[in-house]
């Protein structure tokens, strides 16, 4: 089983920032703010900073909303556990964001389908798909049209990589990795 959320920021395998809170709205805000501060101090250009910041939030909110075993606290706030890491590889000048969390295995086909939908699409096709998804939602007061993976694919410079490893018959570890 996973531990509490763990965030590691490293440069060429040398961590420059890490902590392990339980993921909830407050820890997402704190993590995002700290990541923004660190990237700005490292003079990351605004476009890359925006992509890293937004993907980090997207992945953390996915863990909060969809991971197996997520719960709601007494003050009606969601909380979950998972692991997230952000690394910088200087040779290629890319940032790699990876998260791992538990999923119910009966949701894996849906996850695979959503990632397969964006695989191999270029930015133009992804933008077109974004608009189609938004346009064809039936009820605008209902929850999402499944834009998360599309948005992530648009910001990632390489195809989304993922792995689902069963722990038992019902639960598995889901790891997803994006390169920016």
């Amino acid at each position: 089983m996973t531990s509490d959320l763990e965030i590691v920021i490293e440069i060429d395998e040398n961590p420059i920032y890490e902590f392990s809170p339980t993921i909830n709205e407050a820890s997402i805000v704190a993590s995002a703010s700290e990541i923004e501060r660190i990237l700005k101090s490292n003079h990351v250009n605004p476009a890359k900073l925006q992509d890293i910041y937004e993907i980090t939030i997207e992945l953390m909110q996915n863990i909060l909303n969809y991971s197996y075993g997520h719960s709601t606290s007494e003050d009606n706030k969601k909380q979950a556990t998972g692991k997230i890491s952000l690394s910088y590889w200087s040779k290629e000048d890319v940032y790699i964001i990876s998260t791992t969390n538990l999923i119910a295995l009966n949701t894996q086909d849906k996850i695979k389908s959503k990632i397969a939908e964006v695989a191999g699409l270029d930015n133009k096709a992804l933008r077109k798909l974004t608009r189609e998804k938004m346009r064809h939602r039936d009820d605008k007061h209902e929850r999402g049209a499944g834009l998360g993976f599309i948005v992530m694919a648009r910001k990632s410079s390489k195809p989304i990589e993922y792995n689902i490893k069963a722990i038992d018959e019902q639960v598995g570890n889901f790891t997803i990795t994006l390169v920016i």
Binding site: P46, A47, E54, Q61, R127, R135, V151
Partner: protein, 124 residues
């Protein structure tokens, strides 16, 4: 119509929906925990305002910096409510960071999709 004014937080934008002034503004980061729930009252207000109550001139300023995919969709719903509604003189401004090479990409998506609104890009 009652106005809606929300102060900016670490993960939610400042919101101004001012009926008398015909002034609508979203300003800040947008990734609240329950993003859709956050935007529902805003969209309902807009549907009422543009459902026959619009002032002679309406100004809409979108000044969002970082936002999540649920906000992407909520923005679509906001602009959809405006485009499908009734209005007189309308000015929709999309503020973007001129130093960010991605700054115009989101604007272009919405400007193309909602061509009738003549959304203007404003560097800041």
């Amino acid at each position: 119509m009652e106005n809606i004014e929300l102060k900016k937080t670490d993960n939610a934008p400042a919101v101004i929906l001012n009926y008398a002034k015909g002034f609508i503004e979203l300003d800040g980061k947008s990734y609240p925990e329950d993003t859709f729930e956050f935007y529902v009252p805003i969209i309902v207000w807009l549907e009422t305002y543009f459902g026959g109550k619009a002032q002679p001139k309406t100004v809409v300023n979108i000044k969002l910096t970082y936002f999540n995919s649920a906000t992407t969709q909520s923005l679509f719903d906001i602009l959809d409510a405006i485009q499908d509604g009734e209005y007189h003189e309308l000015e929709v401004n999309w503020f973007y960071d001129a130093d960010n090479e991605n700054g115009l990409e989101d604007f272009e998506d919405y400007a193309d999709e909602f061509a009738d609104l003549n959304i203007k890009a404003v560097a800041r």
